[in-house]
Each structure stands twice: as C-alpha cells, then as structure tokens.
Amino acid sequence: MTKPYFFIQWDATSRCNLNCLHCYHTPEERQTRRLMSSEEARFMLKDLSDTTQRWDFRGGIHFSGGEPLLRKDIFDLIDYSRDLGLEMRMLSNGTLITPNIARRLKDLGFEIVQVSIDGTKEIHNYLRNRSDAYDLATNGIRHLREVGIQPTVATTLSKTNFPEIEKIIQDAYTNGAVRIGFSQLVPEGTGKDLEMLSAEELYQAFFLLNQLRTKYHGKIEVLRSESLWCLFEDNQDYANRAIAEKSLGGGCGIGMFGISVLSDGIVYPCRRLPIAIGNIREGIQRIFIENEFLNRFRDLNNYECRDCKKVALCRGCRAVAYAVTGDPFAKDPQCFLHLMREK
C-alpha cells in the first residue's frame, strides 16, 4: 500500500517577473513580503523530511511563488530537498524555463513541472499583463518536454477564459503538455477584480471538461482536481461511511494533506485561503497537528454544507467561500449540486 502524501506548498519568493490580473498576491505584497533565509528554508525542509518519515508518510515540497526560479538559492534548496528524499514539484509561470534551466531541473530529479496557462495567446497575455508571456511560457513547456519532464498546464477559470476551454486544451496538447487542470478562480489579491464563474457556469464548464476528457484521452489528460469534481462520481457508499465515522474522506485538502508557507514563513491552511495559522519556525507538528483553527476543518459539523450527502468527500473550495462571504466554513457559492438534481 502506498504511503499517504504530505506536502508543503512554499512560496520560495513572492517576487515575480509578471503582474497577473488574477494573482493571489497584491503588487505591494510581491515587493515587500520578506524572504526566508536559506537557513530558515533548510530548517523547514529538514522538519518536513523528519516529520513525514516519523509519520511514515511521503513528504513533498512544492516550490511556488511568485516565480520560484527568481529565488537566487533555489537550486541549492532543490538539491537539499532531493538529498532529504522529498518529492519535488514546481509551480512556475514558465517564462524563465530555458533549455538550460529545464536540463538542470531534470538533472535534479524533477519529473513534473506545472506551468500556468490561462487562455489562448491573446487572453493569456492580457491576464498575465505582458505581451510575450504566452510565447515564453509555451517555449518553457517545450523545453521541459525536450528533457523528459512532464509539463502539466494549470488554468484558472474565470469569465474571461470560460469560452476558450477546448482551445486551451488543444493548444496545451500542441505545445507538449501531458496533462491540464482547471481550477476555480479565488477572488482575492489582484484577482478580486476578475469575475469568477457562477455556479451554473462552473457546472457547464465541468460538464464540458468531462466530455473533453474522453475526447482527448490518449493525447492529453484532462484532470479533475477540484473538490467539486466529486459530484460527478459514483461514491455514495464511501461518502456514507466517512460521514458515519465522522471523518473526512477526501475533497478539500485543508487539514488533511498539506499546508502552504509564504515567502516569509507565514503559514496558511491552503495557498488560496489567506488566514495565517502560524509561522513555519514553530514546526509542522505545532501547526498542522496542534493548531485549533486548522482542527475545526476536520469536523464536518462546522461546515454550512454539513447536511449535504457529499460533505465528507467535497466541502467545495474553502478559499472561494471565504473570499466571497468572509466565512471559511460557508457554503462554496459555486457548488452546483442543486443544478445536477434538477437535470
């Protein structure tokens, strides 16, 4: 049986070479948020390795940002993570991935790198606020593929790119991506000015993506990675068991499988849920295990959607709920279960 996976998504830096319209950072935050020192970062990585080994879990570090490749000691920290036996992922905007960088990532053990693409060329460049962002990112994807790294495209769904879903998938495949995932826009940071989809539109989008998964099978994998995807699954027996045992069965990963650490060490339950629950200097044990606020996410009774038959497997996106209502336990306003019942 494969071990459970526990990860830290770490903003290696909050600096970025882009200024995207939907970023969860504000421009001020990108400039002013402190950077953990190399020593602090190494302490975090060692703690992650030690803790997950003691738990008998797999440990993972997801280098994110900002743009993680802008951090000067990033390759030293990657090297250190590899030596610690951590699984590594990178979430990049792709624009700095030259053939040399791709080769270096491959040599250091990366198998998968995520590159964000938010539309066809025109839309992507508009959302990324830079006229050559698309060409640079797609070149980055090709460079990754050339050295044997599997590029995953990540797309944030909003009203701006909603009509382009199939074209985005086609282009990702043409550019060399092996899989693509679509996530809900969280209206926070600079992203608060973009329009998120309504529940009806998100249902349409997921319904279409479900069909496109089949259409593009064997070419590019269309992922179903948001919690609300569980509404498309035949999973009620398992959901009933989890509910009966007062347990989380899956869905929103807050309090289950990982935490998010900002560039200055502040910890969020999830990168998209901007509620500080401590500083990583306190250690994973103290934050993930002992934090009482995080523990509230492990009790189904705390959720507004607690009476839903899918609650143990879903709970929607807590970050979207918080961004829209101010309450992280409110119902996800994009939940479309009621629309499926009407069909």
Partner: protein, 67 residues
C-alpha cells in the same frame, strides 16, 4: 461524535511512532486512518486517481496514492 472518535482512535493505539495528538488528528481522516491500520482503501475517488499521475494540485485534497 466522542464515541466514534474513540472507536477511530482505538484503531491507532498501536502506532508507536505517533503522538496522542497526531493519532487524534489522523483518526479523523479516513484515507490516512485506513493506511495506518493497513486497511485497503475501499474506494479511490476518481479525482484522486487523476492526481496520482499529476500531484500538481496544491490543496486539492488528493491522496496521491500511487507511485
């Protein structure tokens, strides 16, 4: 709630590598509890199966159970 948590907790009592507080937390997470007691997961959510190959969805809640 307390009775069920106690039942779930009792399954983990022999896990000497975990502190009491860790057992309390992991007892509330069914897929982890199943792993810790050696119970084969009865159900793999489809989206988790996807993430078994991806593992790029921070906070998505996937178990990433397959290498």
């Amino acid at each position: 709630m307390e009775t069920l948590l106690s039942e779930n907790l009792s399954l983990l009592e022999r896990k000497v590598n975990l502190t009491p507080k860790e057992k309390e937390v992991f007892a509330k997470i069914l897929p982890i509890r199943q792993y810790l007691i050696g119970e084969k997961p009865a159900y793999q959510p489809l989206y988790s199966t996807d993430c078994n190959t991806c593992r790029q969805c921070p906070g998505c809640g996937c178990m990433c159970n397959n290498d």
